[in-house]
Symmetry: C2
Subunit: 239 residues, 2 copies
Amino acid sequence: MPAPKLFHFEKNFEILSFQVDPEGKLRWSALGNLFQEIAWQHADSGNFGQNLFDLGFHWVLSRFHIEVQKLPHWGEVIRMKTAARGIDSLFALREFEMTSLSAEVLARGMSSWLLLDSKSKRPKRPNQFLPGDLFPEVAKGTLLPAKLPVPTETSHTKLFTVQPSDLDMNNHVNNVTYIRWIEDYSHAFGLAFSRLEINFLAEAILHQDVEVTAQNSEAGWILVGRVNNAPIFLARTSG
Amino acid sequence: MPAPKLFHFEKNFEILSFQVDPEGKLRWSALGNLFQEIAWQHADSGNFGQNLFDLGFHWVLSRFHIEVQKLPHWGEVIRMKTAARGIDSLFALREFEMTSLSAEVLARGMSSWLLLDSKSKRPKRPNQFLPGDLFPEVAKGTLLPAKLPVPTETSHTKLFTVQPSDLDMNNHVNNVTYIRWIEDYSHAFGLAFSRLEINFLAEAILHQDVEVTAQNSEAGWILVGRVNNAPIFLARTSG
């Protein structure tokens, strides 16, 4: 990821007991929740959140690249920042940064989103709906998180079942559920990481079983989550 | 539950996107998280939280009785209150209340806790360690949440697996995980409720399978969660 420019929106959060792991450090899933929260609040403040939903469209996270320098601990107050970073073809780009109150960078993220017609499920060109000053066209591929390869020879299989608590306000499995699966999967097999890339490929449905399996490579572990043998997400963990 | 007296400790929280269900209302599990958070903060402020842990003891939730009048929605700011309510034999009692900022009662809870020696896992008499003004002896059974019956003929079986994300700072399956299982279980079978009673009987271990099943009765649904056929929790949902 290139060095971030100015951020458009920020808000402080206290790290609470239910957001931390047994070592008292912020969980990756809780980091994902804070990214999601600040994106919602920013979109709403700029009139391209709830009101686009009311017009019959919804945002779907397509790819996410997260790098953690240092996870904050229980009781710490951190600052979440986000900014629109323009449009690359059908993708709207959003960058995130989490810092300490003394401006130390704790984590960064770059995400790409598709704007879907809620009925047809087809993507719409986001530049028809978004403020052009926040979302100018950017050079193709410069900021877009990587497209990941499908792993060929995998091992370490683990099963997850979609629960009602995994559904968000769109009644879809929330993107953070995928991050939690990756975190739980990696913990179960002792695979620590500080960099996470995800490609969201297809929707999972309530009560479906998701089989996660992985392949080790020079660039890290490549994970694939499958429902009825069809990939629904790819991820790469490293660092 | 009797009418609450004064509360010792309170704090406001904003309901965030990751705490709500598809209808935008606070989830029961997220309510449980806020109860847990305010209990921690109160115990720490009174020097019977982290410092008891450092002395080799830890609090274990034994029984919980929660009644919801109205669940707050995404973006609402609510006030969480808690107070110690004395000691009943080996149980330390703690009451909770969630109100709107205009003091409308949204939910209430009464909980009983055991103080365990972290090595021997045996309960200690809490009056040896707690401030007597906050924890006087109370008349036996007046505030203690009910002991629930083990259901005899059950149906509606559903399986949950303990994940790394279910562990809290004691490296134990957090009590809120049980609430989330009950919420997911009830949602899966269309069993809505506004009153929840839980008895926590035994610990679940990472990667264990927990089989939840239930029996309908005049007093509501009685749920039991079992690991290897041994009950680890009982719950009653009604209202």
